[in-house]
Symmetry: C2
DNA sequence: TCGATTTTGTGAATGCCTTCACAAGGGCGT
DNA sequence: ACGCCCTTGTGAAGGCATTCACAAAATCGA
């Protein structure tokens, strides 16, 4: 899955990438997912005035091991300096560029229930490369209201809004039974990337990427492991940390559905 | 510093398959993550009165291919009937049991900002095996208020609440700079599974599981793929003029400030 | 009873990711 | 200049996960 065989990707802006002919730098999906984490860690370092960082400490800050970090960075042809480490500012630029975050990306948010409103107000979007540029809901009572500086539009105007703002990324936070319909309309209007919070599988054509966040599923996965723990070492209240076999798992939301 | 529990798993890694008496099997992590999806799909089928389902149609409903589904189910020793399919009710039970969802699990929710309040009201938790049994926030103005039938408690009482309700699973929805502290206290109070919405890496001892949901990271991953698509040729559907050039440099340069 | 048909369960093959381990490169002190 | 030490970058190895493909059930109709 994960369709998208990528070919040429010009757009190298900051540092010149050695664009070796025939070397289509294909970056593993798992690596891409971690780049976002590295970026976050780098931002933290920069704020603390740290200008250079070793793979070891960056890896620790990002919660991975250093071999993995180095392998990941090697995929984007990054420039570390042996014996020294990585330049924080340079690496930040490299990753931002790789992720396509160099100018803020316009995002549409559909559905302004509790979750939608929380997302609308989430500062992390703005600070990390995204600008919510359209708020859409189906409730007539909400339409016209102003939220975070934007006017809420009716879902009837969805296509028009998406087209006029040239939006490629949308966030779906509508009730589960409306999700597929909204999705279809977004896709028809030209959206190519969707972040889905509705607990349902969305059907999309193969050129559209869908990522999902299923909150209850996350808890269920935790529940599974918790269940196991309870069964294995019979209890042991928070006193001693049995550091034996299983390491703590640190996992991310997964799933990249690329459609049929 | 910042010890990383990942440790070099020099110790037996594959050898920790301690099969406890009973039906303990080892289930791949990737499979566990999908079980939650299957469960959701099964619930949908049951609601439509469907009593039996083939691996093929269940797979379609869950957005995976049927071979993967069957392999997954084989790990939990499920009983499908050859030539017929799976009994929806039976399979539902099997998965619920595997995930440890047989009785509702108590969950504590820490942080009642916009996101926290949205989570508190999320019906999907209750309907899928979880009961939020404690709401905690640091804002004195909120403490004592009633939200969704629960009284908001002050974070000072965190340990006491967690212990008295015997809570093993917690959801962290506090600002990023408070997250590690809250995490430490939860762990000390006996919590063994954490779902983290704060955009930071949490440090925990090895017996604790952390899953994280990083909303901005999800968008960034989409951004990466979208970037790749745009760089290719436009295969613009119908009329939509997907601006070929990535140009349009408005350079909003709003730097990065820590989210919260 | 038997053969046709359907669909599961699973070894085997393949491919992706992670981890290992070390040579190559670069700075720094003397 | 010259070693010494540090850290990167990366082949190679090893583990998981996915997919393939087919034999083994199980039902049904005649």
């Amino acid at each position: 899955m994960t369709a998208q065989r990528d070919e040429l990707n010009a757009v190298s802006d900051t540092a010149d990438q050695r664009v070796v002919p025939g070397t289509e730098r294909t970056i593993p999906e798992a690596t891409v997912a971690r780049l976002a984490i590295y970026l976050r860690a780098l931002t933290g370092l920069a704020e603390r005035g740290i200008g250079t960082v070793s793979s070891d400490s960056l890896a620790t800050a990002a919660g991975v091991n250093s071999a993995k970090l180095r392998k990941d960075l090697s995929h984007l042809g990054s420039y570390g300096v042996r014996g020294v480490g990585y330049d924080v500012a340079l690496l930040t630029d490299q990753i931002r560029s790789t992720l396509g975050l160099n100018e803020n990306r316009a995002v549409a948010l559909i559905g302004l229930g509790h979750l939608g409103q929380a997302l609308a107000g989430y500062a992390g979007f703005a600070s990390r490369g995204f600008r919510i540029s359209a708020l859409i809901d189906a409730d007539p009572a909400m339409v016209g209201d102003r939220l975070r500086g934007l006017i809420i539009q009716h879902v009837d105007a969805l296509e028009q809004v998406v087209r006029s703002e040239n939006i490629a990324i949308a966030v779906i936070a509508v009730p589960v039974n409306a999700a597929q319909d909204v999705c279809d309309r977004l896709v028809a209007a030209g959206v190519t990337s969707i972040l889905n919070f509705a607990p349902t599988v969305l059907n999309v054509p193969s050129h559209v990427d869908v990522r999902k966040v299923d909150l209850a599923a996350e808890l269920q996965i935790l529940s599974f492991h918790d269940n196991r723990k309870g069964a294995r070492q019979d209890f042991a209240p928070a006193s001693v940390a049995r550091v034996g076999a299983v390491g703590s798992r640190l996992t991310t939301t997964d799933s990249m559905v690329a459609a049929t």
